[in-house]
């Protein structure tokens, strides 16, 4: 079942979703867009660092780690667990 999860940072490892909006500003916004975080793009939460932060996401065929604070600047629509 679809469960509403707002932010990238709230996703648990194994969950899948689609990017809906970016709240980051300036050069970080552009870096996220270049990395593939654009509305509609599929993103999978892969794993957390052993210390809980950052978290690795699979997006557009590659794995990128974001800190939880940064990941909360990306909103997603969670789809279904893998």
């Amino acid at each position: 079942m679809t469960e509403k999860k707002d932010r990238l940072s709230q996703m648990a490892p194994g969950e899948k979703g689609r990017v809906s909006e970016l709240f980051a500003e300036g050069s970080f916004r552009r870096r996220l867009q270049d990395a593939g975080f654009c509305p509609g793009e599929e993103v999978v939460c892969l794993m957390r660092s052993p210390l809980g932060d950052p978290t690795a996401f699979s997006i557009r065929g590659c794995v990128i780690a974001l800190r939880n604070g940064d990941a909360s600047l990306v909103s997603v629509e969670a789809e279904y667990p893998r």
Partner: protein, 658 residues
Amino acid sequence: MKDYVAVTLAGVPNVGKSTVFNALTGLRRHTGNWTGKTVDCAVGYFDRGGKHFSVSDIPGAYSLFTHSPEEDEAKRYILEENSDVTVVICDASSVERCLVPFFQIGEATDRVAVFVNLCDEAKKNGISVDLRMLEDRLGVPVVGGSARWGDGIDKLVSVCADIADGKISPSPAKADYGDAENVIARLIETGMSRWEAVRSICDAPENFGYPDAKALRDRVAESTAAACKAAARGTVTREKSDRPSRNEKIDRILTGRLTAFPIMALLLIGIFFLTVKGANYPSEGLWTVFSFVLRHLKSALEAACLPPSLISFLCDGVAGTTGWIVSVMLPPMAIFFPLFTVAEDLGYLPRVAFDLDRCFKGCGGCGKQALCMCMGLGCNAVGVSGCRIIDSKRERLIATVTNSFIPCNGRFPTVLTLCALFFTGSGRSSGLVSAAVLTLAVILSVTVTLLTSLVLSKTVLKGRPSFFTLELPPYRTPNIIETVKRSVLDRTLFVLARAVSVAAPAGAVIWLLSNISIGDTVILSAITDLFDPVGRIMGLDGVILTAFLLSLPANEITLPVMIMAYTASGTLSDQSDVLFIGEVMRQNGWNTLTAVCTLIFTLFHWPCSTTLLTIKKETGSIPVTVFSALLPTAIGAGLCAAVTAISELASQVLHRIF
């Protein structure tokens, strides 16, 4: 007209640009499986089919809207250097994201080709790329292959030559920016390139009738992403599989909550163990050969009736120190470096940054600092220039000034030798114990680095952590034999070159200082006496401090200089065992405390001159460079003094009790 074809290799990070560069030129530029391995540009030359080519290897850039200095460098190269052909290199496993720079470069120049690298790896993972279809979509020649095995390289060269000759005229596909296209067209009419037009609009959208700057910039970024997606759709096919990939399985263990740190420690211990064990025999062998040669050289020179002081100068001073460096320092370095390179090629280093980022974040730094520190284990100068991968200037400075806390390859042998002499002995388990001690030393270094970063970010380099994106590349099987062969050779030549250029002159200087007197005092003892009081406070002595000072050009020579200074009146060469230095040290009043303090000071003192020059080059600031020398020195001196004071206090207390 130019008589050569200038080719620039561009692309997102870690798609193998340097590997393509090496395949084209036959050069051996260092490569590694992580984002940010290449931080500077290199130019190589080769001839193919009667044509001269120049190739520029530049750092990876996710986009030409740049973020970090290393990407700036890349942008400058692509947009300003006059290259005849720009090759955009893609990773076959993730073509879509690799195309971002393609669409941007295609706006600046038509002479673009695409090389889809790592096709073999993609194939293994069930991914195939339809090169013909991609070529149609992109409007430029597309060559596929795997640069590691030289696959596709010949074809790439001929395509480049054809583009340069005008036999092929590519017309790169363009991203569609929607209603901004009208403005772009107007600007192009005024003589701008499409790239300049897009850039002007993004820089100041309000001047072109776009009041919502963010919306416009988003449209540009998203249109580029959409163009990449459209180009990749249908050209890349993936076999669907529900099983987690091999990568995910490895990552689950290597970055697992319970397993990550034990594995990191075990890996360090393992690498150090192999280094210690493996270095023993060659060290002894080299020293035996060396002292044999030296003895015969000496008697030959004596037979030639040269003055005894000249013989002593050459044999004990110059040749003695050089032989020392080669036999004691070379083997551990020649073993550690290849092992480290294998871990690097595997793709393990970014995982270290991923595991440790939280600690760095807590200390106001950047997780990528861990990558610079890993490089610092090899060489601090390399670690310092590696700091370019850190985006924020503040975090980059923190990483730069703390890099020399990590003991570089040139300092390992000193640490290892001292461990063997004073803590572990030479019993059967000594290798493992030494490795553990060395690992503890690294952990101590990391701790001090973190604490210093924390203090710095609370004081002189105030600020909050900036954003952080770290790419975790797929694990790649390293070409072990080739890697080991190459880095052993590289290291050996490097150390030998240093031995000749630094150790031999240092040996000469020491010999002269210890054999020339002013009045009744030998110069060397005057100097060491001068430093003695300071040294004593730190649990060292004047000779040790002098040795550290004299080894500013290269940390490798600290121990040899020390021994030379102790034995300056006698001779070195009668000894057949490398470890006779333990005797020398004990005769000169060394005890466990001296060894501990020397170890601490080896870890924390001024960086070598090469590193300092690199810091000067990277930061362009003399105050920062001076600060980077004073900071570790102050910490080392403080730690040594504290350890000495505590141990004296403890021994007095014990004395009272018993």
